[in-house]
């Protein structure tokens, strides 16, 4: 026994010092320049979103207060990007809009990944009829035309599904509703992913050992299998959050998502088709912000994928 231990120590001493996996992943991630730039942009946007109330206080402006004498002011020191059709500072509204978009992207991505993970774990672990049922359900769900279904869901009258009027009339409803309905239509990707990982892991020795030791199913799924599925889930969630922000902005643009006076990048553009003839720049700023955020998320997702799984690099 003693000799084995001392052997091991000698072996370790001969090897270079071990590198932590997180460090290795970071080194590989760093090689993906677009992902690095995307990550930096996202950090700046997130900081602006967090600091929005402080910026509003510092500028002494209110992003929701209407001032009709101040409509469509050109860019000035007081309003760096000018004012909108109701005389509100456009820059401040864009910063507040970012709060909504990033919040929806983050929360919905977590929610959709959780729903997908639970369904994927159950489907992969139990197999057989449970698996067949859940996967057919998944297939049918994917065949639903995404946008039309989202529009119907966004138009559903909350009192008809039994929500009390106090919640149905609350101003935050549009925010919660959008998180919920987007999660409802996008969980299939992560469900399939996690199912696949579960299927390959469940025959591995360490899982079989846990079964033999009498571990409960919940323990096997969440303590033994889930940690091994985390990196693909993280990549999928990053890529999904870009897609979610696109869907949110589209619904808000159509007037079915975040309701004014709350600002979102999508609803700032709602009347863009009227203003492009006179104020084309006003229609461009919010769109560029959505585009920048989504492309950054896609690059970061791509970079994470390469970092976690070097085999996929350059594909």
């Amino acid at each position: 026994m003693v000799s084995v231990v001392s052997n091991q120590v000698r072996d370790d001493a001969a090897l270079p010092p071990p590198t932590r996996p997180a460090l290795l992943i970071w080194r590989r991630f760093r090689r993906h320049k677009a992902a690095l730039i995307g990550g930096a942009i996202l950090i700046v946007l997130a900081l602006l979103a967090i600091l929005a109330p402080a910026i509003a206080g510092w500028r002494g402006q209110d992003h929701e207060a209407v001032n009709l004498f101040n409509r469509f002011q050109p860019a000035s020191a007081e309003h760096p990007l000018g004012t909108d059709d109701l005389g509100r500072d456009l820059l401040l509204r864009l910063i507040y809009g970012g709060r909504i978009s990033l919040f929806v992207g983050l929360v919905t991505a977590c929610l959709t990944a959780s729903i997908g993970t639970v369904i994927g774990l159950i489907s992969g672990w139990y197999g057989g009829r449970v698996d067949a049922f859940l996967m057919r359900f998944c297939d049918g769900w994917i065949a639903l035309p995404l946008l039309p279904v989202l529009i119907v869901l966004a138009a559903v009258d909350p009192t008809k599904v039994g929500l009390p009027v106090s919640i149905a009339k609350s101003p935050d409803l549009s925010l919660y509703r959008i998180v919920l309905i987007i999660a409802l239509v996008t969980w299939t990707t992560s469900a399939r992913l996690v199912r696949g990982v579960t299927l390959t892991l469940k025959t591995r020795d360490f899982v079989q050992a846990a079964v033999a030791q009498g571990a409960s199913t919940a323990r096997i799924l969440f303590v033994h299998i889930l940690p091994n599925a985390l990196s693909p889930i993280l990549v999928a969630a990053t890529l999904a959050s870009g897609n979610i922000i696109l869907l949110e902005s589209t619904l808000s643009f159509l007037g079915l998502g975040i309701q004014p006076p709350v600002a979102s990048w999508g609803n700032i553009l709602t009347n863009a088709q009227e203003i492009i003839w006179s104020q084309p720049m006003q229609a461009i700023y919010p769109g560029v912000l959505i585009f920048t955020t989504v492309i950054s998320l896609n690059f970061v997702g791509d970079g994470l994928q390469d970092a976690f799984d070097p085999r996929t690099e350059g594909r």
Partner: protein, 318 residues
């Protein structure tokens, strides 16, 4: 083959049936019902009239019974009337469907014609500056909101350059001509195409990179086969197998994209019809429109499976 087709067709029918119930239920959850809307248009109606109307049209019955009644008449070919247009649903739907079909065929053909050469070129020259430019374009194409892309194109071509019309189907008052129609289709088609090219190119590129590493490609080269023949014949055929599924599914996405595009350009197609009828509580039209969109996705999935077998002799459905 026949057996496979009939089984798959039966499965698709069952899915459509289940979906029709789900969509029927969802549409019932939208604000207002047809009688309430009739009421708001006529101040002389009393509550008693409303109750009688509700009984007459069966709106007061439970949802399963209403759904069953609707299903029976739908199977008999009666899809109801449009509230907005005062016409049978099919009379409105069919011309709109044709308009969307034009849009999608153009968009699909152009995007495949661009995406395949672009994807193949990028895969043959990985990490070259052209590959990186194509890659950047693809990321941009999948990251841009369709409505914003449409806005940008309108600003560029209609507002700044003034060469193409911003919206509509044809010049009002002008003589109807094919060329005029094409001018109005240019921007919607361009909008749909850009996003689609980005998706398809990515799949062609990654499929091609994978296949070019295969042993049989090396064998073909070693035997002295012409490089163009190796790439376009030996490799592309196999690289396209995964791409075909994506392209078929992409058509479904095109349909969703068409909803936004058609709305932005006031193009009278299916997408705009579905959107307008949902917003106007035109239940019958919205229901059939949605179900139709679901069926198209399912049929495209089936076509993708068949194409699979056609492209890869190893796959057979016998």
């Amino acid at each position: 083959m026949t057996r496979f087709l009939s089984v798959r067709f039966l499965q698709a029918m069952i899915v459509v049936l289940i979906m029709s119930f789900v969509v029927y239920g969802l549409i019932g959850l939208m604000p207002g019902d047809p009688i309430d809307i009739m009421l708001s248009g006529d101040p002389n109606m009393t509550a008693a009239d409303a109750a009688r109307l509700k009984a007459l049209y069966g709106v007061d019955k439970p949802i399963t019974e209403r759904y069953f009644n609707w299903l029976m008449s739908a199977v008999g070919g009666d899809f109801g009337y449009s509230r907005q247009h005062n016409q049978p649903v099919m009379h409105i739907l069919l011309p709109r469907l044709l308009n969307t079909l034009y849009l999608m065929i153009f968009a699909f053909l152009i995007s495949v014609a661009v995406a395949i050469p672009a994807g193949v070129y990028a895969a043959r020259n990985p990490r070259s500056w052209v590959d990186q430019a194509i890659n950047l374009f693809c990321f941009a194409g999948i990251s841009v909101p369709v409505f914003f892309l449409a806005l940008l194109l309108i600003i560029l071509f209609a507002v700044k350059l003034g060469v193409l019309p911003a919206s509509g189907m044809r010049t009002v008052g002008g003589p109807p001509s094919f060329l005029d129609q094409l001018r109005y289709m240019a921007l919607p088609v361009l909008t749909l195409t850009i996003a689609n090219i980005a998706q398809v190119t990515r799949y062609v590129r990654s499929g091609m990179i994978e296949v070019l590493r295969e042993d049989y490609i090396r064998t073909a080269r070693a035997k002295g086969a012409d490089e163009n023949r190796v790439v376009w014949k030996h490799a592309l055929r196999n690289a396209l197998i995964p791409t075909v599924t994506i392209m078929a599914l992409e058509c479904g996405t095109l349909l969703s994209g068409a909803l936004i595009t058609e709305t932005m350009f006031a193009y009278l197609g299916m997408g705009k019809l579905i959107f307008d009828s949902i917003l106007a509580n035109d239940f019958n039209v919205a229901l059939i429109g949605l179900l139709f969109a679901c069926s198209v996705t399912l049929i495209l999935n089936l076509i993708a499976d068949l194409l699979y077998a056609a492209l890869d002799p190893r796959i057979s459905y016998r």
